[in-house]
Amino acid sequence: MEMNKKMYVARSPRIAARMLGEEMLVMSGHDSTLFTLNPTATILWQAADGATPLDEIVERRICTEFEVKPVDAMRDAEELAENLARHGILLISEQPIGKPDAPAQGRR
């Protein structure tokens, strides 16, 4: 994605997901491949509502929780988002992404 362009991320509606301990377990609806997301990736995943740009998610949710430089956090977040998108479990767009959007499941 080009510099200065907003990246919007949304959870794919075809996935299955559940918190298990501190990690999020995600199954791709495309090929049933399983993934686990560490706590940082889980925060990004849960915030991926299609309406909030990735840089805002990083600034408000990642940088406030972890001691990490915003530039480094943004680079890691973009890499993670693109990786998840390649597996069909996250949608990426330069425009806000409307429905369908899967809810972020957590265990209370």
């Binding site: 509606p13 996935i15 299955a16 997901a17 559940r18 298990l20 199954m27 049933s32 399983l34 265990r107």
Partner: protein, 381 residues
Amino acid sequence: MSALLQEMGERALRLGVPFSAQLDLTYRCNEQCVHCYLDHDDHGEMTTVEIKHLLTEMAEAGVFILTFSGGEIFLRKDFFEILEHARSLTFCIKLKTNAVLIREAQAARLRDLGVESIQISIYSYRHEVHDAITKVKGSLRRSINAIRFLKSQGLKVIMANVLMTENMQDYHGVRALADELGAEYTLDPTITPMMDGDRSVLNLNAGESALRELFRDEMFVGDADEFCAPPPPPDAGSLASLPCSAGHTACYISPYGEFYPCVQFPLSCGNVRQQRFIDIWRDSEQLKEVRSIRLKDLSGCSQCAHGSTCTRCPGLAFMEGNMRGPSTADCEKSFARTGIPSVNLLAKKNKATPPCLVQIQLVPAITGTRLSRGVLSMSVA
């Protein structure tokens, strides 16, 4: 099972999370299979509202893999409403069905809702054999049509082939049919007693010689010599191991809200109409008892040569009268596989044999390498 899924199952066990559950939506059915263990009358199924509420509780409790089964799930008019709600809670959904009510529109909707897999019962590749087991003329044709609709939507279909005396010779043909249709194939040579305890259907179980032949069939078991090798004696690890996931990371809910450790384990632990799902899971005395069982506690089985490799089902043992006792169906499978009788089978034989003054019992040598066997259900991807 993938390594990651197994790891997640182990983590769920450590955390006390009900990782997977089966919810039967109805016991009503449009087939009348000769071996079925259910009473198909409706004795007061949960309503749509009750089921949606239960699903929310199950998601909050951590259930990830959710299997909808029955009876025939598509007989519920609200099936897609329930499924839609379940997917909004991001369950990984598996369906078990005879599929005779699935046509193009239903298949497309299942794809849109992101169902993980659909398991369909197929008893034979021959229409007259399959239809005689389901007692519905034309049922095989309709199930096969449904598989084609589902595959055309890119969905994962598993053909489940329960074996019994009526269809024991047909499994190669069913496997070939699965290959032709692009479906996965699984077979199960165990007929279980009815949930009310009636054991008459067990007469349909395939006999020992048929099982022996199946267990030597390398198309299904891989290396037959390895599969049928004598088991090693149980070691400390296997003696301390759990029998299966029932009640530990898995559970079953009936259409009437009854909570059981497993669909094959009719020990009522509570009812979700009266208690929260998580409260039953955490506090049921029955579940605590099920969780306390280890191989070393089982009379007979703990001394049995098959202890380390047996597929003993605690639910079938419970239906035989003692959840800490043997499951004779599994003893018979171990015997058919290895030729070595279990402690339980020897005891039964001794009871049946008139006493004699001198009795010499042959104890087979125990050799071979440890194998992990799951012969209750053998899957071919």
